[in-house]
């Protein structure tokens, strides 16, 4: 008898006891506690960035304030100017755009091409080769920096942008990601039909596969750009102080003050370095979230 009651209570509108089912449902819904925890988590997520901006717009001594300063001051532009005077930040921004842009275009294009071939074209050893791609995804290629550095020295590329671009031109992950997407999204009949109509293989790729691949290309592009933009170890090794990326310039700025760094200056640099990705985040944050979440259930 009691189990029957339970059933009615929780099975929602079908319950026969009037207000009771709704009560149960209310109890299930997210309460004040849920929102409080989420707000606290949001505060922790946002505080370091906001506080950086606050200090960057004030003076260095304001880092000592208790409780911490939470309202911006008026010195942001002055500090920004000082950043540009201390390190070649304008060059750094341009360099980072060139590096990240070139890497993104290359990774997206070659991944789509290879991913399409693995997903939709039949050829000998395709399974074995795809397995090789998957296996190499797990290899920490960053551990190869020593031969890579020797290679760059050999080619006299140290200090140039191509020394950062070339090692980023392809990723095994990109190929796998595009393959997983295209295998479901393009019907085999569509490719057959294009062939029947006399389209060349390249024509089929260009006119059928590429348009269908666009959403996944956008997601892969976003993440590739961010990874290239935020990379530090390798650019720090091969780019000199006079031809920096945003990250190496910021690191140099951070070290510039010696024992007594100018906190406002350094944090102004940190804020500046974040702004381009922050803009990207506001424009495409939804796609970033969707990309991470779709990547998690596909595959």
């Amino acid at each position: 008898m009691s189990t029957l009651l339970e059933k009615n209570r929780t099975s929602g509108p079908a319950g026969s006891e009037g207000s009771r089912p709704r009560k149960a449902k209310n109890h299930e819904g997210p309460g004040i506690l849920t929102y409080s925890i989420l707000i606290a988590f949001f505060a922790v997520s946002a505080f370091p960035l906001w506080w950086s901006f606050v200090i960057a717009s004030r003076q260095s001594s304001d880092t000592n304030l208790v409780p911490p300063a939470v309202l911006p001051g008026r010195n942001f532009l002055d500090n920004v100017v000082k950043v540009f005077q201390t390190v070649p930040f304008a060059e750094a921004l341009i360099n980072s755009f060139i590096i990240s842009g070139a890497i993104t275009i290359s990774v997206v294009f070659f991944s789509t091409l290879a991913g399409y071939s693995f997903a939709k074209l039949r050829f000998r050893a395709s399974n074995g080769l795809l397995l090789a791609v998957i296996a190499t995804m797990a290899i920490p290629t960053q551990l190869g920096i020593i031969p890579l550095f020797m290679l760059m020295a050999e080619w006299e590329w140290v200090g140039t942008l191509q020394s950062v671009i070339v090692p980023g031109l392809v990723t095994a992950f990109g190929v796998f990601f595009m393959r997983q997407y295209l295998v479901d999204v393009i019907p085999d009949e569509l490719i057959e039909a294009a062939r029947v109509d006399g389209a060349s293989m390249w024509g089929t790729f260009w006119h059928v596969a590429l348009p269908a691949a666009r959403p996944a290309m956008a997601v892969l592009g976003l993440f590739t750009f961010m990874a290239a933009w935020t990379d530090y170890l390798w650019p720090n090794l091969v780019l000199g102080p006079r031809n920096p990326s945003v990250q190496t310039a910021l690191a140099a700025l951070s070290a510039s003050g010696g024992q007594t760094p100018d906190n406002s200056l350094v944090l102004a640099g940190a804020v500046l370095s974040v702004i381009p990705l922050l803009i990207l985040f506001f424009l495409a944050g939804k796609q970033l979230v969707a990309g991470i979440m779709q990547g998690a259930v596909k595959g």
Binding site: L113, L143, M150
Partner: protein
Amino acid sequence: MTISTAVRRKPTGLTFRQKLSRFDYAASPYLYIAPFFLLFALIGIFPIVYTFNVSLYDWHLLKGQGDFVGLANYVSVLTDPLFWNAFRNTISIFLLSAIPQLVIATIIAALLDQTLRATTFWRMSILLPYIVAPVAVAVIFLQIFNQYHGPIAGLLEAFGLDPIRWTFDVFPSHVAIASMVNWRWTGYNALLLLAAMQSIPRDLYESAAIDGASKARRFWSITIPMIRPTMIFVVVTSTIGGLQIFTEPKLFDPRTYGGGDKQFQTIVLYLYEMAFPRRDFGQASATAWILFLIIVLAGVLNYVIARAIRTSADRPVRRRPVPTLPLKRGVS
């Protein structure tokens, strides 16, 4: 008459156009994957393999290749107390980041896996730290964890506690560095776990609720087992990334390679110091390969533990492992 039927016919008597089409059909698949494999061989495979070659020689950054020494570089590294110091630091920082991260990410994901107001806002808000580059994270947290000034010192003072020497002492420095990793990655991992939670069929919860299972019970008996593949994925990626941590400890004290007493020198920092300031490419390469093997070993260990949990739990529900966006977490 279509080309594809012509292809299936005998090759004799084909026009040039038809031959071209045949070639196009046969060669294109290889041509499309060729750029990836050629480039990857050059920038991905060759460096790792050649690292092993370098590790067998006396090899100086400037003087170049010296005598063949066999495994002597490996012996030097493995008998170097500083290597083991770096190893301990890496594991310590990794544990301080991986465990809280997984727990908090699971809680946040569970909270988000409800019918909330402003769903998109919450999801975006937890991803915000992810767009901040590790260099900027390190620079910002260096200020936040300043021993004398900054928000944390202020907080400690407000509670009447002694200042903590974040950059000088071993454990506090590990906590500070781990908190940088946690700050940047917890939201990202929460989204992965949220996606896994949302793919759980809702009727499973409903029937459990009908059977009288409490909310907590449903979480432990349905949610956790169902998201286990994603949890394992999160653990594996944070292991691979955590073992290669570099930027955060490097910039936590930019003038050193992991602190004045190497109190937060990690394995990659040890490798870096060996290769560049100390110019010993041979030992640095040996370190790279040792780390490579440690990562492989950790992967195998993860797999074995995951299997053991699965068989002991003996769940009827089986899902495919969930690969996802393993974006360069590594040398961040």
